[in-house]
Symmetry: C2
Subunit: 306 residues, 2 copies
Amino acid sequence: MPNYVVGHKIPDSDSICSAIALAYLKTTLGEPTVPARLGELSPETLFILDKFGFEQPELKTSYAGESLYIVDHSDRVQGPDDIDQATILGIIDHHKLGDLTTSTPLECWIRPVGCTNTIIKMMYDFHDVAIPKDIAGAMMCAILSDTVIFKSPTCTTADIKCVEALAEIAGIEDPQELGMDMFKVKSAVEGTPVRDLVLRDFKDFNMNGNLVGIGQLEVIDLAIFDEMKADLEADIIKLKQEGKRHTVILLLTDIMKEGSEFLVVSDDAAIIERAYDVTLTDNKVWIDGVLSRKKQVVPPLQDAFA
Amino acid sequence: MPNYVVGHKIPDSDSICSAIALAYLKTTLGEPTVPARLGELSPETLFILDKFGFEQPELKTSYAGESLYIVDHSDRVQGPDDIDQATILGIIDHHKLGDLTTSTPLECWIRPVGCTNTIIKMMYDFHDVAIPKDIAGAMMCAILSDTVIFKSPTCTTADIKCVEALAEIAGIEDPQELGMDMFKVKSAVEGTPVRDLVLRDFKDFNMNGNLVGIGQLEVIDLAIFDEMKADLEADIIKLKQEGKRHTVILLLTDIMKEGSEFLVVSDDAAIIERAYDVTLTDNKVWIDGVLSRKKQVVPPLQDAFA
């Protein structure tokens, strides 16, 4: 019976590419391991898999009785629902430490860097395993996505050096150009059902007992949302009710202007205003410089809820 | 203001030596960091510090407003009481993943190996920092202690190779001989107050909401306890009451016979019998082959409480 590697619900490119990369590494080290996913893939991730010739990882949501590695999260609500009946062999992540626990010793590689794949590269180096060309390309794209082509405040020197090394292995001359192609795919939101957009990159958090959902759409020009903003706002109200959430925030991130508009629906909007030191107008506010959910959006809110 | 490194309450040699080793590494990397401790040191740890010329790390129990690294645990009850008011920069550990959480990204090096210091050695290698001779000696002793001179089922190839490498740096020809000297110091229990013995290597665990304390005394010959066993049993009954614990277990481990006698006091002794598939006689049972609290004692009990 193989082990599995799985990222968070509503997988993003980092969750998928790190699952593929870690599964190859573990299998090479003599431990048969299969990449898996908890949900449907975004256009950006499909673009990456297509470019480097990968199939979609197996859709697998139940892990009772299985052994698995967790990538790109350590929060209980973001992982498989039956994780308590599985054995967690390890966690590779670059977020805050969440509430997963284990009853046996495990392997955790958690670093305050921009992308899980930067850490997976460290694991390949530690074990002195060569990264295949196609896997290097996918890993590189995940880092460019997570760091918003190095613009995000989460981006570290390690991420930039890692992209350089992976680009050389993959034979890609201009990683940033490929990054822009990827963000163009990500920006193509027209014609997509509103709910699909809201859930495209959406994560739930347990903040002091309150369920808080935070979605993010990163685009090259925020004007693309002008026609559909009212629909997005109406949909996050529904999403909040359906999931019995305390708060839903949708971040509309302009990667060129380098900031985000927050669309907010909350049982207590004052918490949000206090967390970011802003005043909401019609449940919205633009905050300059905010590109990163994990570094700029989650921590102040978590502290405000504490 | 420097950062701190601190291990668990009732520090053992691994907690202290890894704090010293990590503080030196971080300071060398440009991040002034000070080793600290949460309690009094055992004779074994004092023997190691004396042998390699170290002062005792600063006794510091409050960390509100400070930034710190946590070594050798990730369980809330084992760390500083005001950890929620501190910033956890990282965790280096070799146990199960406990219930510490953070609101910001951090650095975690957690591996299923025999000793935290084996992981710290990986960190030195990763950063290409030379380990000073005295620090190498202390790290080596901590690994010999935690792995019971390689006899514990927690001991891995990585631990053995690490001891070999550290012995060479420290200029120690026969690490195992030094290990036996250390265990002789550890075995000198006569004349020590009973409560000091019970608490010498004692850890609390939160098992499904129940406070469970597990102490361990590792000696070369269990006969040394013949005269004092009744006193030890009386004292763990008191310790259970004082701390409102559900269960207290004291492991009397014979490192030559390679097994442990369990002294048990519990609100529900059947849980203990079920966890280890044994029958207690007068609240005691010898279990052959049990040397490791973290690998052989905690996981079955945690599962039995789940």
